[in-house]
């Protein structure tokens, strides 16, 4: 009897210890969760608190003058570059996704897919350096919109290709088979059935790619250059400003106004990125509301 009781206490002690360890692990997990959430909230709040009190329309409506002025040239530049990336990378990325999901199979498909995924992992400054050496110097384009947006497109095409491919693959095969049974030609099926039902996914991927290109700096520094003039609409020989450049150069200037501009630019960047992320969420939500419940 005594030995039994002793054994039971021993088990009791061990169980309690194991439960305590488990509880400790859970609280560590909660701390880890906080480590993930706190920085994102902190950065957004910090930039907003620094930027908002001094924010005025003049920041948005006047171009930069030396270390003063506003951010109009950078805003227009960022929008122009982003629009260009949407056109160039959007076309190549969506087409590439169509090919990978509809036509490619076997080894060739996995090589192309792998190359695209690996391309997205190349350090942005390496892509920027190559863009500078090839487009700016060897092609004699100079610092320009064309060089900047091609370099940036190389970086974001993989995102668009991936999301396009995945969302085309998720189109239920019954849709396609039904269309085939009704006698639609492959081209019609792709256009009216597959692409239409994959559209929300494709748009989401495009928006995420734009959010990334809005925030990139390293690929643009030596390809788009910088200018305080409002951007011209020429693709070559005309450098232009963009918001990330303002953050990168103005933050450690001695002038308080320049530091302020740096925070203003950071705030505008975050607003743009948040708007794009929200837009992608809305697209997803709308799409899932319209989808038949499976």
């Amino acid at each position: 009897m005594a030995r039994n009781a002793e054994a039971l206490t021993r088990i009791g002690v061990r169980t309690r210890r194991r439960k305590a360890a488990s509880g400790a692990a859970i609280s560590l997990g909660v701390i880890a969760l906080a480590l993930v959430i706190v920085p994102s909230v902190w950065i957004v709040a910090q930039v907003a608190f620094k930027a908002l009190p001094h924010m005025s329309w003049s920041v948005i409506t006047t171009p930069g003058v030396g270390l003063g002025g506003g951010l109009q040239n950078e805003i227009v530049g960022t929008l122009l570059i982003t629009f260009g990336v949407a056109v160039v990378a959007g076309f190549i990325g969506v087409m590439s996704g169509i090919y990978l999901s509809q036509f490619a199979h076997g080894r060739a498909a996995s090589v192309l897919r792998g190359a695209s995924e690996v391309l997205a992992g190349i350090p942005s400054i390496v892509v920027g350096y190559v863009g500078y050496i090839s487009l700016v110097v060897a092609f004699h384009w100079g610092f320009s919109l064309g060089a900047g947006l091609i370099t940036l497109s190389v970086m974001v095409v993989p995102y668009i290709a991936k999301t396009t491919e995945v969302s085309l693959r998720q189109v239920p095969s019954s849709y396609v088979e039904g269309a085939e049974a009704l006698g639609l030609r492959p081209g019609q099926i792709l256009r009216t059935i597959s692409l239409r039902s994959a559209l929300p996914g494709i748009v989401t991927g495009l928006i995420v790619a734009l959010a990334i290109s809005v925030g990139e700096t390293a690929p643009l520094l030596y390809t788009a250059g910088y200018s305080q003039n409002l951007p011209h609409l020429s693709l070559t020989h005309s450098p232009l400003g963009y918001l990330t450049y303002a953050v990168w150069t103005f933050y450690n200037e001695p002038s308080a106004h320049a530091v302020q501009l740096s925070f203003d630019a950071a705030f505008l960047l975050i607003v743009l990125v948040l708007a794009l992320i929200t837009a992608s969420r809305i697209v997803v939500a709308m799409a899932s509301r319209h989808r038949e419940s499976a």
């Binding site: 969760l33 993930v36 930039v47 590439s96 350090p123 095969s173 933050y251 925070f263």
Partner: protein, 370 residues
């Protein structure tokens, strides 16, 4: 055309998705039934050609980047030799003297390059980032997917997306003006004072600097790679079959024991892949590090708070001044550094993806993990 549906699995009801992916990992993909297909030539010709050209573009871009870098770096590789990776000097040379020729390469007099310090800085800052980011990501993903409901899981997704979407210059701005000074004033001195003088921990002693340096960069980098590791781990944890976990719990295991003995081993390969991918991203991160590293060239960090530099940050901060070198050696040396960085990140990317493809059904995220 005939193979178009071959690889597409059946659509499955939502609730069974987890079970299905488990099934898919063990058995072959379910095959769609063969459908009658007309044998006439497909009218998709132009679309197919245009889309094929687009699909080849990333591969071509990858090869072009490699080729241009190698071509650009070749003279620098010849001039700098193996010593480039071992020595620690960064002397662009004297541009006012007559340029000289060594090993058939024209270079400024007294030019000498050795990247040891920036290689060490790149590796150290990324390792610090990994040490912080890996437990944080795993813990967060575990808590969210095993303790909290699916609604909270989506909420975490929002924060991860936000973290992945914040531009790296904004991370840098936050690091250099806010968290760096804060840590060096309030936190680092406590470490420096109380850390014992033993191996590794010795690195925490000594001067804590002004907030720009290795540890601050590591912390910023950690925040930047958490989205990659956390979002992949969360998807992986959702794949572990409920029955196995519940069985383990029914045998009397505590929550922690289920996690360490069942859940984590089940997905370990995927997590290793995600970690390597995060490491590759940290190695290549440029702007944020350039803003918080302190940008010193040619000195090795003496403790964990010391200023340093990475390969990527060196390229972005010195390419401007490298253009002054009339012989082009300085620019070419940066190409050599970029090539080394690219080869390492390429290997990490390919290795991680091959590993994960072999053992798991969850694909690794592209790029930043959004």
């Amino acid at each position: 055309m005939a193979g178009a549906y071959r690889r597409r699995p059946f659509p499955l009801p939502k609730g069974k998705a987890a079970l299905a992916s488990d099934l898919a990992s063990r058995t072959e993909e379910p095959q769609a039934p063969r459908v009658f297909r007309p044998t006439t030539k497909s009218p998709l010709g132009p679309v197919k050609i245009a889309s094929a050209a687009s699909a080849v573009a990333p591969l071509l871009a990858l090869l072009a980047i490699l080729a241009i870098l190698i071509h650009q770096a070749l003279p620098a590789i010849k001039f700098n030799g193996v010593g480039f990776f071992i020595h620690n000097v960064w002397h662009p040379g004297n541009f006012y003297l007559q340029p000289q020729t060594t090993n058939g390469v024209l270079h400024p007099a007294q030019a000498e390059y050795g990247a040891w310090a920036i290689i060490a800085g790149t590796v150290l800052s990324s390792l610090i980032a990994l040490v912080i980011a890996l437990p944080a990501s795993l813990g967060a993903a575990l808590v969210v997917s095993k303790l909290l409901g699916p609604r909270v899981r989506n909420a975490l997704g929002v924060f991860l997306e936000l973290l992945a979407g914040i531009p790296s210059v904004v991370f840098g701005l936050w690091g250099t003006l806010t968290i760096g000074p804060l840590l060096s004033r309030d936190v680092y001195p406590i470490f420096a004072k109380h850390m014992p003088d033993v191996i590794i921990l010795r690195w925490f002693r000594g001067s804590t600097g002004a907030g720009e340096g290795l540890l601050t960069s590591g912390i910023i980098l950690a925040a930047m790679i958490i989205p990659i590791i956390a979002s992949t781990s969360r998807d992986l944890f959702a794949q572990v079959p409920k029955l196995t976990e519940e069985g383990a719990e029914a045998l009397g295991m505590t929550r922690m024991e289920v996690t360490t003995k069942v859940t984590l081993p089940w997905v370990s390969a995927g997590i290793i892949g995600a970690t390597v991918l995060g490491l590759a991203r940290a190695l290549g991160e440029t702007m944020a590090v350039a803003m918080v590293s302190g940008s010193v060239l040619g000195t090795l960090p003496t403790n964990i708070y010391a200023t340093f530099n990475t390969i990527a940050a060196t390229i972005v901060t010195t390419l401007d001044s490298a253009l002054i070198d009339g012989t082009g050696l300085a620019v070419r040396t940066l190409a050599e550094a970029a090539l080394a960085l690219m080869v390492v990140t390429l290997l990490a990317n390919v290795g991680a993806r091959l590993l994960v493809r072999k053992v798991s059904t969850t694909a690794l995220p592209v790029g930043r993990g959004v």
